[in-house]
Amino acid sequence: MTAPPDEPRGDHDPTATSGSVATRPPDSPGTTRPKARATRRPGDVVFSGLSLASGLIILLILVLVAVFLIQQGWPAFTADSEEISGGEGFFGYIWPLVAGTVVASIIAMVVATPIAVGIALFVSHYAPRRIGVVIGFVVDLLAAVPSVVFGMWGLQTFAPQFVPLFGWLEDTLSFLPFFEDGSATGRTLMTASLVLAVMILPIITSVSREVFLQTPRLHEEAALALGATKWEMIRTAVIPFGTPGVIGGVMLGLGRALGETMAVTLILSPGAFTWNIIGSGNNTIPAEIALNFPEASGLRLAELIAAGLVLFVITLIVNLFARWIVAKRSEFSGAN
């Protein structure tokens, strides 16, 4: 960080005392710089060093994981089609898993987001403070339930309960390709998605609640003073202010849903991809890996690691997309 003596702009003798600065011609561009540098506090140096180091460590871990996935999974990309499970090449193997993963996560997100935003708004703006605190606490407790517990619960309780619902969906909405043959066990992608929705509810709720609570009073009062009802105030001041944060929370939830393993593994009875989300079949990448990894070796192992790489890329894309949405709106965020 210190300028070398021969640096063109820092034309001062490193051994000179600060008093010598005053003797220089006043228009010399270099004279002010050493002074500014001299005011660096040790605390600043330590802290910026620490944050730089932790940033680098995170980056390093990310690179190492990526290198591992690419290196170990590579054989799956280059092997002959017939050698890959299913006999249709890696793409033929992976796309049903990608589809299952994405469909399950999207259903979970679509179901959980409105409920989470509703709870967050209720807690932050409608409920009396004491009740709001209790509800917030209960929702946070939901986040503390281990996913394997959710999986068992989904399998034992949720899935059988859904069988009649699936029957109804089949009867009334069978013109849609998603609702055809209702499963008799309830162990379907729909069940897994709904359990995922419950699992991602707390994170979306608590992020949304935080941002809604941070809405500046000034903006809320601006809306009220214009003659907004409570709901109109929420629509004009609270929701627009909170949207980037809610998107962030939804993306965190989506990330969790994409990578969730235990619950899906337990609930789903895996099979080929089908649009019929209430029938048996379908699988997700994490469940596929968890089910098969312990026995896998050779090319099968490479296949699973390559599937992990695909999941990694999907999650990365989701995150970049979220950032892009948030950045696109930042001109209007009020931060300027």
Partner: protein, 259 residues
């Protein structure tokens, strides 16, 4: 378009704490009324009771009557939302909605009041309100840009435009210039003078010259002692208050001999 405000024996509370005691006054239509007084004497508290914004603070309540053209704002069955549509408010710190464009900011209140409006009518209304707030020439080429990108003075005029776009009867302003430079302050003072021809304007200010310049009548609020509720000490023509006040406390305050 402008209405007379009649305040009768108003007591204002924050929970158990009484902030303002026994205020009675009459505010004439199409006039500018200024409130002055030392910090903490309840000027903001009082002005916020004139459009029922006081009660949005938890525990805040009011006893007494505020009549606008004879109708009690605090009467049974009066919806505060309707009151606020009649009595607009401009805050101390400019508060345009950051996520909305300049145009949408101006129209925010109108969109609440009347659900549907053709694009052309909305454009015309936005232009009229922005002209009314002396802001049109500065923003006409960037109506779709965010309101938060304007300077502080422009933002405050945008808030005034937003308030007059709904065509209220009364406009309340709580220290509208305290965050602004002298030039923006003059722009807003000129604007207040113009608004007077259509609206009843009530303004809180710490700037005595400003009160003298813009207002027709002036109210002086004071505290007897810290912890005591604020009171309206004197309310009279601005000329009289600044040249020949009848109360000693008023004279001390405006001449800066305030202890």
């Amino acid at each position: 378009m402008s209405k007379r405000i009649d305040v009768k024996n108003l007591d204002i509370f924050y929970g158990d704490f009484q902030a303002v005691k026994d205020v009675s006054m009459v505010i004439e239509p199409k006039s500018v009324t200024a409130f002055i007084g030392p910090s903490g004497c309840g000027k903001s508290t009082f002005i916020r009771t004139l459009n029922r914004m006081h009660e949005v603070i938890p525990g805040a309540r009011v006893e007494g009557e505020v009549l606008i053209d004879g109708q009690n704002l605090y009467g049974r069955g009066v919806d505060p939302v309707d009151v606020r549509r009649q009595v607009g408010m401009v805050f101390q710190r400019p508060n345009p909605f950051p996520t909305m464009s300049i145009r949408d900011n101006v129209l925010a209140g109108v969109k609440l009041n009347s659900k549907r409006m053709s694009g052309k009518a909305a454009d015309e209304l936005a232009e009229r309100a922005l002209r009314g707030a002396n802001l049109w020439n500065e923003v006409k080429d960037r109506l779709d840009k965010p309101g938060s990108g304007l300077s502080g003075g422009q933002q405050q005029r945008l808030c005034i435009a937003r308030a007059i776009a709904v065509q209220p009867e009364v406009i309340l302003m709580d220290e509208p210039c305290s965050a602004l430079d002298p030039i923006s302050t003059l722009a807003i003072e000129d604007l207040i003078n113009e608004l007077k021809s259509d609206y009843t304007v009530v303004i809180v200010t710490h700037n005595m010259q400003q009160a003298a310049r813009v207002s027709d009548r002036t109210g002086f609020f004071n505290l007897e002692a810290t912890g005591q509720p604020g009171q309206l000490v004197e309310f009279d023509d601005t000329q009289k208050i600044f040249n020949n006040p009848s109360q000693k406390a008023t004279e001390d305050y405006i001449s800066g001999r305030f202890g």
